[in-house]
Symmetry: C2
Subunit: 593 residues, 2 copies
């Protein structure tokens, strides 16, 4: 069906329901950042396939909102349809809510899928629209009846995440969460995040590409620990493990009934994650403590076992990337390689590594101007041939049994223009500015964000995205609550938090540069009564000296770089497989000057 | 009366009133930062004379809270009395509110002076104490009857601030405020801040030392503009001026009655400034729009006339300070000079300057370890002799008809230790880090604050205060809403805002270093759709090259310094009065290397 036919069919369904507008968000029933194909209603409707976006259809408008990462991609993908791009957080563009308030009238109904609309979004949006007499009406999906070839719900079996990787048994984790519940006077806790449920019960799954989680809920009370999951995904072995840990396994669909029969005084849950549909099954007698889950706020600080595993995973992952980049720099001069082939080669080496599960997200393998699209992905139809000049950018990561990785390198495939070299070096300054920070305990990632932006702002350049994000542990590659961003977030960085630093320069039609490493927040020292933290690097892939203009670096920046390269050498040398690789590594890691 | 006698007498008065605790804040009825002597109840009671602090007395405890600027001074001043120091924002010390909640019981009454307790503080504190059944009871001051030799209320005449300094007539300003009221649907606005009232009606006064303001309120409606002020302060000339501008002058004490008879639907006022006592006179039929005053949020961006004046004032002020520092560096080797004499010398030169009114605050003239007390002031009893070694710090400012200044220099009076030189250079790096920032329009001072702290955090040092504050225009030396601070403040910096940068290193018993310049936020350039702002320096006093270790500076930092010194030279050379001063200036402003 052409996009415009889909719009037309949806408009008929809206008419039947008496809706003035229908909004399609990008979500599953758990507000997962990445969703399985079954849930990709917005992508199906609009043709825009980026991971974030919201569509809005009225009888005469078809709009799709997305963020700065996807402006270019979205424009390309919706071209030829009636959809218009709305740029989030951009002057001149209203938000979805503002648009509705400006364009709808009192008495109008706005429909949304009740299964993928969070209770919090429902409450906030209702309150905002109410002011103009507009009503938000959650209802069963209007897309579902139209989507003929809809993919099935995922059914991958789950598997145990063993103690050597978790450092804590599920029952120990459950007890820890119960202690936190007790502090808040909550006698129940309902956990909606797929990463949270998997971490709490020490299993992993395969429901969402790149995210080893499984559609599931957890319900903890003072005595019980329940897991709601498609029973077909739980084999005998897992049943035994859950039984030993005191976890009762029930079908995914039982969650609503369990909530409606809940005997509890006060339940802790995150209204931002639970669906409108599920929330309404809670008895009104149960007090709701709306907050980020105890699990989310616990697992964001890696325990010693997890941290040791995560570091080991980065060491192996870094070697695969380093070998790939050495190979590419050599081979691009000798053979024809396109963006997909390059990504495939990295996949080949990465997947040969110990404990590999899958990529942690679709690799961004981008040559030249393609890299200016922050989240570009090549496809069979759209892919560029690499040339022995300008920049190649690879942003990729792995899911391993012992960790999740995410790293970006931009390398020179041959000669660079002065502008390219300057932009690369400024990006490097930006990265080092934040990576070398020392900071008082209690400092937020928001407060530190400026250290990365300032070197680029000095040259009037700003990247339209965050500077870094938290990374889950064998789970989502974007997990919080920690982040580096110029969007306010008061959360202090805490020891054990895994976080990326990834500033960039993006010039449409020219080039895209991003340099991403991964850090763990660690204790540095105490002085004059103050406790200072630092960022300890975990990813070790040399930064391309061919792209650096040393005259733009300070002595301290060069010292940071030389020390980082020394560490890279030590971590990687034994993982190089040929004399050629070892020679390349030696050259890549030598002092800059 | 000895402090302990005062405590004992207060306790008897508390018993009579049935109060479990009595809290004495530092405030007048306008929540002015600096108050006239009449209002210094907390200082009278405790002996601690710093500009910020709160005392709390129960039948068995006498406590005084203050912030990091005053820890050392407060300890010294309360020594020998029963008062104990409570350090604000310091782990292990509860706030006043926390202390009351932890130590009082349900049914207990807490008294406070109703005339100096803001409505907002009343509401917030009441709500917090209510939770434990403790009641906040505003009442007439308990200190007033005890304070025998209380100073009189100030009575200085006000004077016109002429159009050449204001750039706008009072009636133009009033119309501008009325337009803002209309946007909010407010048909009245009550203005409490002394700086706001003076700015709005284009006058200045002399009620508070260093603050050319006068105790007054303004009430604007759609048709009326009232000024409530002690009529004895308004001479014939001023009466004529006010009359021409359509301003009705009423006695200060009429404000309560005017509010109680107010015929308005909606009044805009700042509950954080208006007193409990005055607020309660408002009829309940009038809706209250609680917000920072329109005047405050307008005058924080200097208009072109004000900015030109402010820059001119800095040029003259900078010359006085520069001449003073040259003199001091020479004379300390030749004659005995103490901290007070030094400050007097600066006063002599500053006050000879054109348009001088008074100092904008009590000069901090501090030698050696005294400068570690951020807000130290020498007195006849406590003053140090300057020696031809180590650091001298002078933080001072002037009130001029055409602007308000505030600047700090730390200079070497002779040989420095390596530690002193390092700390000075790090403070300089910190200053330059923020001063040279370029930033996207919409960026807050909070977000940028890190640029100043990071160079010091790299060496595990943190100053326990903000990095910079807004400066009023011929008014308070601390005026907002703009500031550089690691306390969150989302307010974007805007063109025309006057703001200081003043990082420091403070080592108790060793030395204190602070380098403060003054900037105006100005437009830099637009690039790739982004609008960038910068900080344009307005104060021009050479930074002491004798205290700088150039090996710690980057090429960019040295370039900033050299350019700044070049500007200093150009601004100052014609204001030097002797060949010796001109030679000193030339040396002080030469390129560093």
């Amino acid at each position: 069906m052409h996009t415009n036919e889909k719009i037309a069919t949806l408009r008929k369904a809206m008419e039947t329901q008496g809706l003035a507008a229908y909004v399609v968000n990008t979500a599953d029933a758990h507000q997962s950042e990445y969703v399985s194909d079954f849930f990709k209603e917005r992508a199906w409707l609009t043709g825009f396939t980026g991971s974030a976006g919201t569509a809005l259809v009225t009888q005469d408008k078809a709009l799709v909102w997305t963020d700065g990462r996807y402006f270019i991609q979205a424009e390309q993908e919706i071209a030829g349809s009636d959809f218009e791009l709305m740029k989030m957080a951009t002057p001149g563009y209203p938000s979805v809510r503002e648009w509705l308030l400006a364009n709808l009238s009192s008495g109008d109904l706005v429909g949304m899928n009740e299964a993928t609309l969070s209770q919090k979004a429902y409450e906030e949006m209702s309150a905002a629209l109410d002011k103009k007499g507009i009503k938000l009406q959650p209802l069963p999906s209007l897309i579902a009846p139209l989507w003929q070839d809809r993919p099935a719900l995922p059914s991958a079996a789950i598997f145990a995440h063993d103690l050597e990787y978790t450092g804590m048994t599920a029952s120990e984790k459950i007890e820890k969460m119960r202690a936190k519940m007790a502090e808040d006077g909550a006698d129940a806790s309902f956990i909606v995040g797929l990463d949270d449920v998997a971490w709490l019960y020490n299993y992993r799954g395969g429901d969402v590409a790149h995210n080893p989680v499984s559609l599931a809920y957890a319900l903890l009370t003072e005595k019980e620990a329940k897991l709601f999951i498609d029973l077909g995904k739980v084999d005998k072995n897992m049943q035994n493990i859950f039984h030993k840990e005191g976890i009762e396994v029930l079908d995914y669909k039982e969650a609503a009934s369990a909530l409606s029969h809940l005997k509890a005084k006060k339940i802790a849950l995150d209204k931002g994650l639970i669906s409108y549909q599920l929330f309404k099954s809670l008895p009104s007698s149960v007090e709701v403590l709306d907050q980020t889950s105890y699990v989310y706020l616990t697992k964001c600080c890696l325990n010693p076992t997890e941290l040791a595993c995560q570091k080991a995973a980065y060491k192996r992952d870094s070697a695969a990337i380093t070998r790939f980049l050495f190979w590419l720099k050599r081979e691009v001069k000798r053979q024809a390689i396109d963006e997909l082939q390059a990504a495939d080669q990295l996949h080949a080496w990465r997947s040969q590594g110990d404990k590999f599960l899958e990529e942690s997200f679709g690799s961004i393998s981008a040559y030249g101007p393609n890299a200016a699209m922050m989240h570009y992905a090549p496809s069979a139809d759209h892919k560029a041939q690499l040339e022995a000049k300008s920049f190649y950018l690879i942003d990729s990561g792995g899911q391993y049994l012992d960790g999740t990785t995410d790293i970006t390198r931009t390398i020179a495939l041959g000669p660079l223009s002065a502008e390219e070299k300057t932009d690369f070096t400024l990006t490097l300054k930006s990265h080092i500015g934040l990576a070398s920070a020392k900071f008082l305990e209690g400092t937020s990632g928001y407060y530190l964000d400026c250290l990365a932006r300032q070197p680029l702002w000095q040259h009037y350049m700003d990247y339209k995205c965050g500077t870094g994000h938290g990374v889950g542990y064998v789970a989502g590659v974007h997990e919080g609550p920690q982040r580096f961003s110029k969007v306010y977030n008061p959360l202090p960085l805490q020891e054990g938090m895994h976080i990326t630093i990834e500033p960039g320069v993006y010039k449409e039609g020219k080039h895209g540069i991003r340099l991403e490493n991964d850090y763990v927040v660690s204790f540095d020292r105490e002085f004059m009564g103050d406790r200072f933290l630092q960022l300890e690097v975990m990813s070790f892939v040399p930064l391309d000296r061919d792209a650096i203009d040393p005259s733009l670096l300070t002595t301290q920046e060069i010292a940071w770089l030389d020390q980082y390269h020394q560490q890279c050498y030590e971590v990687l040398i034994d993982q190089m497989t040929t004399d050629e690789e070892r020679a390349d590594l030696k050259k890549a890691c030598a002092p800059l000057l």
